[in-house]
């Protein structure tokens, strides 16, 4: 087995190449999008009552923040800035750096989606084990059907159902936003409670729409492990039920771990519908707004962050898998 630093170096080189490929692809793809952001701004100002000449003057400044020159020169300039971690300036909020726009939304998405992923993982894993161990009973069937049903429900439908139930019929949770602005920010009870209450429904929507896949995968994995010889040996040796459960769970969790690690990587781009439904200002909403306004810099920055997150998650999954599965460390195959 290769040494860790060498493997890591190999991963990093591949990661940089992949980031460059994706950055190039998205750069040229975004610029093929039809639409003139200045014309859209002009129309918005005129509809708000500004005179046509006034609107024309006001939107002139936007041109100063739009890339000029040939596409190739724009691309080389973009790569040069990228090497200096400069992702450009927003044309929606003129002059503000695209990276700060994206990171402002990203921190809210991370909290929301991470909570949803952890919740769905925990629920799915536990119910998957129960569904597998009681697969011949009504309980197992009910859990399997429930998991399949929830897995089939789109995220935005789940979000709308939760909004209707918990903010309209039984209004116990806030309808929108990420925190109550009337609460003084800081590490204090009311502020943390406000953050939690605003994130509860969006995270729940995410968890409910995701746990089904974990449940079904875990069930399948447990059933597969239950048939292994070491489980029979453990029974014959008279090991307690609890210890046997730990043996089964650890082995059955391996496929779930891979899915979990990849889901973490996709979390930046995975909550658009939920964020829109709850008006939760994360990166998904930032991306949708930037597309609507043809804010090329913010779009590029968002796609870059999503790409980097997926690549890093893949690398970490690969490295951690080696750590948690001794069979891989010893050069064998997982599941052998």
């Amino acid at each position: 087995m290769r040494k860790l630093p060498l493997r890591l170096a190999g991963h990093l080189v591949r990661a940089l190449v992949m980031i460059w490929v994706v950055a190039t692809f998205t750069f040229f793809l975004i610029r093929q999008m039809p639409g003139d952001p200045v014309a859209a701004q002009y129309e918005q100002l005129v509809q708000q009552g500004m005179s046509p000449d006034g609107a024309r003057n006001a939107t002139q400044l936007t041109y100063g923040f739009m890339p000029t020159g040939s596409t190739w020169s724009q691309y080389t300039h973009y790569l040069w800035r990228l090497l200096h971690f400069d992702l450009g300036r927003s044309t929606q909020t003129l002059g503000v750096s695209a990276s700060s726009e994206v990171l402002t939304g990203a921190k809210w998405t991370i909290g929301l989606v991470l909570a949803g992923i952890l919740l769905s993982f925990a629920i799915g894993a536990v119910l998957g084990v129960i569904a597998a161990t009681r697969r011949s009973s009504g309980t197992g069937d009910a859990l399997t059907i429930t998991g399949s049903l929830f897995h089939a429900i789109p995220q935005f439908v789940m979000a709308l159902v939760l909004i209707t139930v918990f903010t309209v019929i039984w209004p116990v949770f806030p309808t929108d936003g990420n925190v109550d602005i009337l609460v003084d920010p800081g590490f204090n009870g009311p502020y943390i409670a406000s953050l939690v209450s605003h994130a509860t429904l969006p995270a729940l929507a995410y968890a409910l729409s995701m746990f089904g896949s974990y449940l079904l995968t875990m069930k399948s994995s447990v059933i597969s492990v239950l048939g292994d010889d070491f489980v029979l040996a453990a029974e014959l040796r008279g090991l307690t039920r609890g210890i046997r459960f730990r043996y089964i769970a650890r082995n059955a969790l391996l496929p779930l771990f891979t899915i979990f690690a990849l889901t973490i990587g996709f979390m930046f781009g995975g909550a658009v519908f939920i964020e829109k439904a709850f008006n939760y200002p994360g990166m998904g909403v930032t991306l949708v707004n930037s597309i609507g306004h043809r804010d090329y810099s913010t779009m590029n920055a968002t796609f870059l962050l999503i790409t980097a997150a997926v690549i890093v998650a893949n690398i970490l999954a690969d490295l951690l898998y080696t750590a948690i599965d001794p069979r891989v460390r010893r050069g064998g195959t997982a599941g052998a």
Binding site: D36, G95, V183
Partner: protein, 602 residues
Amino acid sequence: MRRTAVAASVLALCAALTATGCSSSNNSTSKKSGGTFTAILTHIDPKAPINPYNQTTNSFRGYNAMMLGWSKNTATDATQFYPAIAKSWDLASGGTKLTVHIQPNAKWSDGKPVTADDLKLSAAVAYAEGGSAFAAIPGTAGGTVDVKVIDDKTVEFDQNSTKPLNTWFSNVMTMYVLPAHIWSTQVPSDIWDTIHTALTGSAAEAKTAQDTITALGKKLISWGPDKDVSAGPFTLSRVTTSEALLTKNANFFDADKIAPSQVVIKNYQDNSSIVNLLLNGQIDGSVYVAVSESQLDKILAVKGNQVVSGASPVQASLAFNESKKPFDNVHVRRGIAYLIDRAQVTKIGESSSGKASPYPSGLTATQIQGWGVDTSSLNAYSVDATKAASEFQQAGMTQSGGKWMLADGTPFTVPIQTTSDFNDWTSGASNVVAQLKAAGVDATMTASSDYTTYLADLAAGKFTVSWWLTALGPSPYNIFQRLYGSANGWKLGAGGGVAHSAPGQGGNWMGEAESSDITGLGTVNPGELTNQLSQVSADQQKQIVAKLAKFTNDQVPAIAMWDYVNQNFINTNHFTKFPPNDSDVLRQPQGVWMQLGFIQAK
């Protein structure tokens, strides 16, 4: 056992926190006297600067961003203003000299008085940021050529007297007022020398000065002070990614009129987010939002919710691209107008906040009445298949098997373009297609993916019949610019004249001829007439408006479908004394309503 205890403790803590959070809005911050007014206004971005000129800003007009005056948006007189920072004003010398008297008690939120120096610096910033009346190009029609400090509370604005425009006054009055002691850190001390050089220097000097001003504008647009210093009724306290909190400014010159102790402005993503909040009774005052009749009923069923509405100088029309045959033929356009029941289209497209336009004339019903246009000379184009047939026959079309055919025997088709972003346009277009098909005219509807794409393709002349907002007043110049401005090939030159571009060039997607002969009017160049609207007196404007209305009615470059109704939702659970229906403040933000004495605590 230990793990169970830990898990139970964690769950209990989460429950306690959640319960506290659900009731967190009842903390001491919100119990101040006057209460919290919750509004929904615009897109909120915590990274946006406190700069009213940025497209996305944390400087909210009427709340912590002040102008010299607030337009009454009168249908026929764009010079009617409520006082704001300007307590009074005198317009003299044929509208080329404006003397503004600042509110004597006007102060910034840090206690410093608002002075003439603030106005002079604000004007300098307006030159850099592209304010309507402030263009650093010599000879600009309607441009401000000088700003003079008369005394501490009096400022004189001078317009280019050789090329004055009657829109100059309202353009100056809508200048944002900024604190000089804050913004002077960003503006060079010799900015007015630069501005004067740009306006009066030699060609080379002026060019250099203009480049300096342009560079300053690019620098300033993304700048804003770290802490808000406002002369308005509120100052910005904090901003999250979804809301902005403003607290009452005790130094506001009319603080006694302001009831709420704080305002929360919520983020506005789209109509559905506003509707959800209205259904929960969480909005005390909202911007205009288009809703269906069923949604309106549900919103009004919520305790305290009401709607306050008034006329809106916005009209939805189907505009023709006359560079595409046979729509260059006026008989074809008239024939189509005779086939469309606009009342039915309005009922389907904009039932709750629209009224069918009575006459395709480029004007809303309110504007027609306000300008005293003689409607006896206008054609309402009421549905009449016989008249439509007559028009089509004059265009050389024939009917075969119940379908209308062009002169060359090919089927006559009306392709209508809409955008997925606007449900009312899509619904309306569907109904128009159905009506035309029932009348034997083949019609189709296609939707662009979003409004930005729609506008780009529209400007490129890709569409034949498409939605276009018209009658965007209150200024008559602004109204008719929509039909006889850049979209139709007429562009205002810096010297005040207009030049016409051929169809397909210079943004001309409507493709109208430069002039046409009209019975009773003679040869009319609508672009020239529209341009004159910005230069003539009110009486002359009236005559031109009547002429352009008749021209539009005769030539039908666009068929007006419905006049939008300015529909504002309010909630009276915590506040009362909202403006009545048809009030002239309805098109201003609620912060302006408060300044005028509306919105009092219950």
